[in-house]
């Protein structure tokens, strides 16, 4: 039985869903809305970008999002320096809709791996300014520990490069991170299909964040539902306590009473 009280708590706020989804890369606003709905997510990421002054006809994302239902997590996608990320977060907060930020400071365009040095600098400033910081980082327990010590509300190690669909490339590092920090560990980036999300949860992660895995699927709405189920299944399996892995067989049927 799924336990309704098994809530995800971030910065004192409780969430029922452990799946967080992005709002990018969808074919249309309508598809995005239906996919988010199917995912069961309560936290959704958004990007902060210049308003197109000359083309006023373009639809506004917020026209399609019920702000009473969802918690917005503005990201600092596209920022390569701590200064840019800090500036973006301040603007995101000034839009007046969220104190939560997904802090990303990228180091490289091809891999989109984080620049952890800049990330740590940005995180320090933002935590001091009262932001609830959820940092996207590498699967490095040392950096995760530093992010926790700085005061981040969670750590979000990548499973694999953003949009790569390679799944959880280093589950052992993720397990070490789970042992290293007390804040929620949310795998962010690289999830390609349902089993990847389930694996993350079976390892003991507190949540999974994805965008391309759903939006890039042939049928995003169906995939969103698959991910919803996978995160819940993985969490249930984790809490249920799996059997150990053994080299040799142990019969499931009794040895006595076999006919001869």
């Amino acid at each position: 039985m799924e336990n309704r009280s098994d809530k995800l708590t971030i910065a004192g706020r409780e969430f029922s869903s452990r799946l967080m989804v992005g709002t990018g890369k969808y074919a249309s606003m309508e598809q995005m809305v239906r996919a988010i709905e199917a995912s069961g997510a309560e936290i959704i990421t958004v990007a902060v970008r210049r308003v197109n002054i000359s083309d006023r006809s373009r639809e506004s994302l917020l026209d399609h999002i019920d702000l009473k239902k969802y918690t917005l997590l503005p990201n600092t996608a596209g920022c390569y320096t701590a200064d840019d990320a800090i500036r973006t977060c301040r603007m995101a907060r000034e839009a007046g809709l969220s104190d939560f930020v997904k802090l990303e400071v990228l180091g490289d365009e091809k891999t989109l791996f984080p620049d952890n040095e800049e990330l740590l600098m940005a995180a320090k400033v933002l935590v001091q300014e009262g932001f609830t910081v959820l940092p996207y980082t590498s699967d490095d327990p040392i950096v995760c520990k530093k992010l926790e010590e700085i005061g981040c509300a969670a750590v979000m190690p990548l499973g694999a490069p953003i949009g790569s669909g390679l799944g959880i490339r280093n589950p052992y590092n993720i397990r070490i991170i789970l042992d290293t920090v007390s804040v929620p560990v949310i795998v962010d980036a690289g999830v390609g299909t349902a089993s990847d999300a389930a694996i993350a949860m079976e390892l003991g992660c507190d949540g999974v964040l994805m965008n391309t895995g759903i939006a890039g699927a042939k049928d995003p709405i169906a995939m969103a539902e698959a991910m919803n189920l996978a995160v819940r299944a993985g969490r249930l399996a984790y809490l249920a306590g799996r059997i150990p892995k053994k080299l040799y067989a142990t019969a499931s049927s009794p040895i006595e009473g076999i006919i001869e």
Partner: protein, 65 residues
């Protein structure tokens, strides 16, 4: 006078930030504004007058991961 809006030069008559947003039909409550690299609090949109050479950034939320 001329100002720079999201990197582009525009010629405008003197007015407040709020007046400018209204002129270009942008809802103030859905955006954030940075004036000369400083975040402008929403409460000050109406009282802040734009000056020649001002650089403003107007941002909003769009889809992203």
């Amino acid at each position: 006078m001329r100002i720079f809006v999201n990197g582009e030069e525009h010629a405008i008559e003197p007015l407040s930030v709020l007046g400018y947003l209204e002129e270009i039909e942008i809802e103030p409550h859905r955006v954030a504004v940075e004036l000369n690299l400083e975040i402008l609090p929403k409460g000050e949109y109406g009282t802040t007058q734009l000056k020649d050479g001002d650089r403003i950034e107007i941002v909003h939320f769009v889809g992203g991961g």
